[in-house]
Symmetry: C2
Subunit: 342 residues, 2 copies
């Protein structure tokens, strides 16, 4: 086994990009997807880091994603900006739409970006964070695969449907949260299974709809929404707004379409952007300064702001590089040489 290595963000991104190009992705998509993966690794979000490359390559190998569709922006001057991803991975579509979304939000106060027909590949926090850098607050939501039962139900219907929000903090890391509306991510159940540990109560039901703490039974059954009927309602709202309303697949439809959760799902995404300056215009107080007072009050009583662990990992990566084990480096080398089986 090789020794551990540290890489710069750019070096890691380039290495991932080479793997994706070798798999046949166009320059545009290899670049955009590799940046998103490198960001996950850099920020210590291992489940969104290089671990994701294989799923990406599997999806390419099964021809369930376009390798080279060029995202197309449709802007009719309204509050809704659309990017047709043409069946390709989502990051390039987001990169195309984000500046237009931010500009429209600054113009109208509020705007939405819809990404249509994408193989959805990204955590939502890099996206809302990118929008805060453009000076707007952002709320992002999308369906996923039907693996979650509605509260009171027994079978998978909803996705883990992430919800992410970002608020700009000039001169500071933005306020960003991003979480699954299931009580746990599917990967966490998988980690319990591999470690031979029981799940906490309330995470899942088995295939008969009965509460279970057995990871295998949970994976064959359904996860549960966070926060009982409240989380279930929010997850349902995400299916409605970021599925039915935008004319892209719901989580149940996305699973039907591919028949497996091991490939990157094909659906859409909805991102709302708000211009605090526009909303606050003519009102007392500066919205950013008032938000800081709220954050200080949260921190002042010993509570944490979300994303702090990511920002800390990012700072460490900026000074010391991104640390990968010898095993991880060898895995990247293998993926570059041989790809994955379909």
């Amino acid at each position: 086994m090789n020794d551990a290595t540290t890489l710069s963000f750019e070096a890691l991104a380039k290495r991932i990009e080479a793997i994706l190009r070798r798999a046949g992705l166009s320059d545009l998509h290899a670049g955009a997807v590799s940046r998103v993966i490198a960001v996950g690794e850099r920020d210590g979000a291992k489940s969104h880091g290089i671990y994701r490359i294989e799923g990406c390559l599997r999806t390419v190998a099964t021809a369930k994603v376009s390798k080279d569709a060029v995202p197309a922006l449709h802007d009719d001057g309204s509050a809704v900006i659309r990017v047709a991803a043409g069946g390709a991975f989502s990051p390039a579509a987001f990169e195309l739409g984000a500046p237009v979304l931010a500009a429209r939000a600054k113009d109208l106060g509020l705007a939405a970006l819809v990404i249509h027909d994408c193989a959805h590949f990204s955590a939502l926090w890099p996206e809302v964070e990118a929008l805060t850098e453009l000076g707007v607050a952002a709320l992002a939501l999308c369906p996923s695969y039907a693996t979650v039962a509605p509260a009171g139900g027994t079978r998978p219907l909803l996705g883990t449907n992430p919800l992410a929000f970002g608020w700009p903090r000039p001169g500071l890391d933005p306020y960003v949260f991003d979480f699954a509306t299931s009580v746990a991510a599917r990967g966490e159940i998988e980690l319990h299974r591999r470690a031979g540990r029981l799940l906490p109560e309330g995470w899942a039901v088995d295939a008969d709809g009965t509460a279970t703490t057995d990871p295998d039974a949970a994976l064959a059954g359904a996860m549960l929404p966070f926060g009982g009927h409240k989380g279930s309602a929010i997850s349902t709202m995400i299916e409605l707004l970021a599925g039915a309303m935008i004319g892209d697949l719901t989580s149940a439809e996305a699973l039907d379409a591919l028949g497996t959760t091991t490939l990157i799902p094909r659906h859409g995404e909805l991102i709302l952007a708000f211009s605090p300056e526009r909303f606050a215009a003519g009102r007392p107080g500066d919205p950013f300064a008032r938000a800081e007072a709220l954050f200080e009050a949260i921190l002042g009583q010993g509570a944490r702001l979300p994303s702090q662990r990511r920002y800390e990992a990012r700072r460490q990566a900026a000074t010391g590089g991104i640390a990968l084990t010898g095993e991880e480096i060898a895995h990247l080398d293998k993926l570059l040489e041989r790809g994955v089986d379909a």
Copy 2:
């Protein structure tokens, strides 16, 4: 004690309106507030029904609300419509802004209504429901009073910050949810106190920030957000968007301003409206039909849709009238004759 009585919606609303007029509210506000209270009573939401009249009268008696400010609509043609409530109760401001909001959403795809400087008096579900009747989906949020500690914190800072969503179901009761982002409403803790019952675990902390199941200790301490850090993040987002961003008070500022939770709080509200037709234009499938498939799948596995109990109570009221106890009727009579002490 008098016998129980049933009243029609109109008769109950008229009776409440008379009480509010006697307290000095202008026709506009007496009408709008009485409709909201009668809706709560009609729909079996007792905590938003005639029970609320006293808090309303107390707020009037202490001169913490304008009795007659005429709400003013400000529309610059952007995606943000504003109604300045001028320190009066919120329902008249909502009634003024709602049709403009729905029309703008149909024009631009997405729009926001901001209500500024109101004594916020209404559950949010009548509002999102009214918007579904105008053909748009709606998401409403507002702060309240600082009575909830952030996850990991020890002291009240966030409000019970309600979040409500509505989706039109042509020919059917809309899909509507409305819940506090605290694990329980303050009224539920009060009910436990009166009944001499302990609270469930996880509802509250005492004044030292230690978990408690004692209702008195909880009322002197802080409630907790639903769903741990996820609910806490959503509640914080509500403070940011519907407080700091719109230039109205946060929950902490609202409590500071009045110094008590027994009066109706003075803050703003943010309501987003989405036109499903506009979002779905040119996309496969009808958004409303696709939403119905989702609702059928939820119901088909024995889970419930939110608000069904309210709709059931409403149907009963439509045929049999709204049932009030003799005690409740006597209370209404007393409020009409004598009002409340400040």
